[in-house]
């Protein structure tokens, strides 16, 4: 198990290195710098600024400095938030996004699994058809449309929940729902198809023959055996939540990583863009490793040696 973990981690490192190199390259290809202003600055000041941020050194030197810094966990000072380090900003914003993301996962699974099971249990009935239809609607609804709709109804119309900011549990509800609901459609469809498949298996017939109630057959035998495919999509789901957070944190003014990323892109704050991108890359690589490990624990048929990376 641990061997496999470290092996996977070993495979993740080249990916991270490539991402770091690519982001560095991208940021140095861009036209225009963060200190381009309308007003012409005196050359001494420009020289000072460039010396402070190492912009006067050759590119390869900047690259080495950058790599060395990253390995030390130091991502340098932000260009736009003067006096703040990128790592400080990320340390502050990451927990916010993490809470939002976890709550969104709860919404996704909390909506997706029950409706998927219900759909499978009443296969081809009107309940099933409406669940599938609703799932397709949910998949097609952009999260910013859902977010705007929620704000319009719950904040402006009924004054039930706050439309923006991040100041307590009440502020989590709307963004978490807007972020998580879209993925619930995928989970519902996936759950439905796997439960339908499992329900056709022999051991389900045995369970029924023993006289178990239909609810028990469904929840204990069918659902617990359909959980593995759901686990396997948690990797892509993490990636989806990351990109989803750009929009949702923007709409709800949540001070998380997504919001900082968007602002950094608008401001051409390169160190912050690179820092956030790297954290996302680490997060996604780790999520995929964890998913694989859980997957193997759940399904002993998948052998350690046979898994391709």
């Amino acid at each position: 198990m641990w061997m496999y973990f470290f092996k996977r981690l070993g495979h993740g490192i080249p990916v991270l290195l490539t991402v770091a190199t690519l982001t560095f390259g991208i940021m140095h290809l861009v036209p225009g710098g963060p200190f381009d202003t309308e007003k012409k600055l005196p050359p001494e000041i420009i020289a000072n600024i460039e010396a402070k941020y190492h912009l006067d050194k050759p590119v390869w030197h900047q690259y080495l400095l950058y790599m060395k810094q990253i390995l030390q966990g130091d991502m340098g000072p932000s260009y736009k938030y003067v006096g703040r380090d990128v790592s400080d900003i990320i340390l502050e914003a990451f927990p916010v996004s993490l809470v939002l993301g976890l709550c969104a996962v709860l919404v996704t699974l909390g909506l997706g699994i029950p409706f998927g099971v219900l759909s499978a249990a009443r296969q081809n009935s009107w309940i099933d058809h409406s669940c599938i239809f609703a799932a397709t609607l949910g998949i097609s609804l952009p999260s910013f449309v859902l977010g705007a709709l929620l704000i319009l109804l719950f904040s402006h119309q009924w004054h039930l929940l706050p439309p923006a900011l991040w100041e307590g549990p009440r502020h989590v509800i709307l963004p978490a729902f807007a972020l998580g609901a879209g993925f619930a459609g995928y989970i519902a469809r996936l759950t439905r198809s796997t439960v339908v498949e499992v329900l056709g298996a022999d051991y389900i017939r045995t369970a029924r023959a023993k006289g178990l109630s239909e609810t028990r057959v469904l929840l204990k035998h069918a659902l617990s055996n359909s959980i593995t495919p759901i686990v396997s999509v948690m990797g892509p789901l993490t990636a989806g939540l990351v990109t989803g957070s750009f929009v949702i944190e923007f709409i709800f003014s949540v001070p998380g990583m997504g919001n900082f990323f968007i602002t950094a892109v608008t401001n051409r704050d390169y160190p912050l863009i690179m820092g956030v991108t790297l954290v996302y890359a680490v997060l996604i690589v780790l999520a995929n490793i964890v998913v694989d490990l859980v997957y193997m624990k759940l399904d002993p048929r998948i052998s350690l040696a046979g898994t391709k990376v």
């Binding site: 990916v15 490539t18 991402v19 690519l22 982001t23 991208i26 940021m27 290809l29 861009v30 036209p31 397709t136 609607l137 998949i139 097609s140 609804l141 952009p142 999260s143 910013f144 449309v145 705007a148 709709l149 704000i151 319009l152 402006h156 990636a239 989806g240 990351v242 990109t243 750009f246 929009v247 923007f250 709409i251 990323f261 968007i262 892109v265 608008t266 051409r268 863009i273 991108t277 996302y280 890359a281 996604i284 690589v285």
Partner: protein, 273 residues
């Protein structure tokens, strides 16, 4: 005929998308006003007889802007996906057919593009290319071909083991002939289904980026920028965000329904099961 055998939602979707495409192509004739004509006496008007969807902050007709927005959104959605499918098909076919070391190297490149989520990659590429129609066009194309490449490679790997391919080789068919005449015709169904499902993904990416202010730059507009205009006036003039949101939603929904209808008819993997 394929159309007559599809389910009702898929049929309705096909008709809706066809109508939308006609409106977008013939926008100057369909739209009652130009997209930039301002009626300064009538700003932020509610929908009525003269302005079917009301007017925006600058007194421009929302209905006309919606039709021109459809031009941008559909253009980006359809053409980036088409190009991505062509590139992905050639790349995946070569990778899968040649196999061995070439395949390994080609797939490593795909893996790197795959490592980060699409939208994040698109934003990073657009930081270099700059905002605007062509920036987003290129960024979307650069990111979306990898999914197709993986899919096509898998199909080619499967098909090249069939006996008839061996037969073709035995009678001396060239590699190009085998790939383009023997293998690819067998996966065109899968490709059409993929195309249909990838177009809404591209449309969603464009509108999302434009909505958060990183996509299409003013003065050109897409449904995403229109939704952003509406977003700033959400509290008092909700009709401004309603129409672009509805258009994006219905278009994505229609492509998804159409894709499901086509998959039921065309995808051999679905037919086998």
């Amino acid at each position: 005929m394929m159309f007559t055998k599809m389910q009702l939602p898929s049929k309705l979707s096909a008709i809706f998308l066809l109508g939308l495409a006609v409106c977008a192509v013939f926008a100057p004739w369909v739209a009652p006003y130009s997209y930039e004509t301002q009626d300064t006496l009538k700003t932020l008007a509610l929908p009525d007889g003269t302005h079917w969807m009301g007017t925006d902050q600058l007194g421009r007709d929302v209905f006309s802007r919606m039709i021109y927005g459809a031009q941008t959104s559909l253009f980006i959605g359809v053409f980036t996906t088409l190009i991505a499918v062509v590139i992905g098909t050639v790349y995946g076919a070569v990778s899968g057919y040649v196999g061995g070391r070439t395949d390994n190297v080609m797939m490593r490149i795909v893996d790197v593009v795959f490592a980060l989520p699409d939208l994040l990659m698109i934003i990073l590429i657009m930081v270099v290319l700059g905002r605007g129609l062509w920036g987003i066009f290129l960024a979307l194309t650069l990111v979306s071909w990898v999914t197709v490449a993986r899919l096509v490679r898998g199909e080619v790997l499967r098909i090249k083991e069939f006996a008839y391919i061996e037969a073709a080789r035995a009678i001396g068919a060239s590699h190009g002939r085998i790939v383009f005449h023997e293998i690819l015709p067998n996966i065109w169904g899968v490709l059409i289904v993929t195309l249909t499902f990838r177009i809404p993904v591209a449309i969603l990416a464009e509108s999302t980026l434009s909505f958060i202010g990183l996509g299409i730059a003013p003065p050109s507009s897409s449904w995403g920028t229109l939704a952003n205009d509406g977003w700033t006036a959400l509290k008092f003039y909700p009709h401004l965000i309603l129409f672009p949101s509805l258009a994006i939603f219905l278009t994505i929904l229609s492509f998804n329904f159409l894709g499901e209808g086509l998959r039921d008819r065309l995808d051999p993997r679905k037919l086998r099961s």
